[in-house]
């Protein structure tokens, strides 16, 4: 047997699924493009001074006033759509990843602590989580954004509040199973403080299902953010995310200027589908029942 690390084996197995690998390449490329957006796009879409109304609503391939080609056309403000989409992806990914990470941290901690402590605390916490899970996440996020007001931080907070429950449920189930294992009993036989048992022993062993939930919830956060922005409840108009770009172009759909809505939509779908494909493969690989 060749001695490879578990990570190496995981990676090799992952590469065997061509679709998942392609999806991962898409996700990685998107993230890279989003990070490098300021350096690769021809125009800063947030710089109102560089926009000219004469360039507005031009079809893809139009050569603008400033001399470069608008490959995906321009929107109602004369923004280059390719630039706007890349900047929009930046915001979507920032919000999605930040909300996902925060929800992960809060939810996993809550679930694991509930499982460890047990008793009435566990019952109370998990009932509350169940209660929240019975509402659609979008409803909760809508209410919270309406209450908290616009802004990136508020949006992330709303998304976290809507999504931590999924992590808490998953972490609770996994942690309850780990809690019953003998290595936890063994750790409790030493004077290690209880919090250390939770964070050093129990939580790391709950990671596989949590990672799966995390990939899917990041995709969900991005979709949720886009939905909120589409409804006009997201970020300020000066910093259009993908959802707002779609919303802005919506009114021009019937007049044949499809590109203003369609291209941001395609970018959004591509990203979400890719993340979900990666998540599916990770889930299949981490599921011991599907292991050959």
């Amino acid at each position: 047997m060749n001695a490879t690390s578990p990570v190496g084996r995981f990676w090799r197995e992952f590469c065997e699924n061509r679709v998942a690998l392609a999806a991962l390449v898409v996700v990685a490329a998107t993230i890279l493009l989003a990070i490098l957006a300021p350096f690769v796009v021809p125009q800063n879409p947030y710089d109102l001074a560089s926009l000219a109304l004469i360039d507005a609503r031009r079809p893809p391939g139009y050569v603008g006033r400033s001399g470069f080609v608008h490959w995906l056309g321009t929107d109602a403000q004369g923004r280059d759509l390719l630039s706007a989409i890349l900047y929009g992806l930046r915001i979507s990914l920032q919000v999605g990843l930040a909300a996902g990470a925060l929800a992960f941290a809060i939810g996993a901690t809550l679930g694991a602590v509930a499982a460890f402590v047990g008793g009435r605390v566990e019952t109370a916490l998990m009932r509350f989580v169940d209660l929240q899970l019975s509402f659609p996440a979008i409803l909760l996020a809508l209410v919270l954004v309406a209450v908290l007001g616009p802004g990136r931080g508020q949006l992330i907070a709303a998304l976290v509040a809507a999504q931590y429950a999924y992590f808490a449920r998953t972490a609770h189930g996994a942690a309850a199973a780990e809690r019953a294992k003998d290595y936890v009993s063994a750790a409790l036989s030493t004077p290690i403080p209880a919090w250390q048992v939770v964070f050093r022993h129990i939580l790391p062993n709950c990671l596989p299902p949590l990672i799966v939930v995390a990939t899917l919830q990041v995709a969900n956060s991005i979709a949720l953010e886009a939905t909120l922005s589409f409804l006009g409840l997201g970020l300020p108009v000066t910093e259009p995310s993908l959802g707002m770009l779609i919303a802005n172009g919506f009114q021009y759909m019937l007049s044949g200027r499809y590109w203003i809505s369609i291209y941001p939509g395609v970018a959004l779908i591509l990203l979400i589908v890719a993340i979900n494909l990666v998540g599916d493969q990770v889930r299949d690989q981490l599921n011991p029942r599907l292991k050959r």
């Binding site: 047997m1 084996r9 197995e13 050959r292």
Partner: protein
């Protein structure tokens, strides 16, 4: 000789990510009608896969890659699944370590036993119930008619295993493969089942292959013993003879490591090292790295050497038996 079962050079391999696992690699043995044979080995020795191969129950990624299994003169290797299904239960049956492998949790015992009967013959409901109740009584289940109406979860582990044995016996197969059927049970229940199994096999004229890691239970039951190590049979012979005068150093090592052999409190004689990975067996004799008698000759694979009743796969067999080369 007209053997009930003749296995020649059976090889069952598993193609896994970590390489080709030769779980069973060139196993040959035979079994007479009504005979009880013990198949002994540690985990990973291939004893369970051998049992599964006999019933054609090896699942992907495993495959019987060679050899022959003749049951009552009929070749089983290469037989289509439909044909095998007709044989299973009727001519050859299996009892698993975990009775839930046999029992369906949502059907009553009666339904399950009736279905097992109907799979092979036309039988009326009343007749099926009579035969089932009769068998349950014989495997030691009191109040059998009432137990027929229960579901598996209403029975204890020992009772479930008895029901599984009764189902295996239903169609009076000529061979039952028992894979560690008493390992999960308490000693008092194990003793009951061993006693009943021995009596039933004699009554029904059924041959048993008793797969176990426990030399003591096998010695109480089997007239002949097969010792497996790393996918091969390393020693074979009448139980008493093999246990009194083991010829293979591995058999000797197993016997020596039993606590009942040593005086209380003394160190047990142990076999050093651990069982090899089947995906990565050493060249030559697989036991050589753990063997006190290993020398240069053991770098080549030993052939099986046979006398009239015994066989050993070793370059340096123990004892004073004159082994032909």
């Amino acid at each position: 000789m007209n053997a009930l079962l003749a296995v020649e050079n059976l090889a069952t391999h598993f193609a896994t990510r970590n390489g080709l696992v030769k779980a069973v690699d060139g196993v040959s043995f035979h079994l007479d009608a009504g005979e009880i044979v013990g198949l002994v080995g540690e985990s990973g020795s291939g004893k369970t896969v051998t049992g599964f191969s006999l019933l054609g129950l090896v699942d992907a990624p495993g495959r019987i890659v060679g050899g022959s299994i003749k049951l009552e003169g009929r070749e089983l290797v290469g037989l289509p699944q439909a044909e095998l299904r007709k044989l299973r239960g009727r001519r050859v049956a299996m009892v698993f370590q975990d009775p839930s492998a046999t029992l369906n949790p949502v059907l009553t015992i009666e339904t399950q036993m009736r279905l097992a009967l109907e799979a092979h013959e036309r039988v009326g409901a009343a007749a099926a119930r009579d035969r089932s109740a009769d068998l349950l009584t014989r495997v030691g289940i009191p109040d059998a008619r009432r137990r027929l109406e229960t579901y598996p979860h209403q029975l204890s582990g020992g009772m479930r295993q008895r029901v599984a044995i009764a189902i295996a016996l239903l169609n009076r197969p000529s061979l039952i493969v028992c894979d560690e059927p008493t390992t999960a049970l308490d000693v008092s229940i194990q003793a009951q089942i061993l006693a009943q199994m021995k009596a039933l096999a004699a009554d029904f004229g059924t041959a048993l292959i008793w797969i176990s890691h426990d030399l003591a239970t096998v010695s109480a039951l089997a007239s002949r013993i097969l010792v497996m190590y790393a996918g091969r049979i390393v020693e074979e012979g009448p139980t008493g003879e093999v246990l009194r005068k083991p010829a293979h150093p591995y058999t000797q090592g197993l016997l020596d490591s039993l606590p009942s052999i040593a005086a209380p409190g003394e160190d047990l004689r142990q076999i050093p090292g651990s069982t090899p990975s089947l995906a990565n067996l050493p060249e030559g004799c697989a036991f050589a790295p753990r063997c006190a008698f290993a020398d240069a000759a053991c770098k080549s694979a030993p052939a099986t050497r046979r006398t009239a009743t015994r066989a050993v796969r070793c370059h340096h067999p123990l004892g004073e038996v004159a082994w032909p080369l």
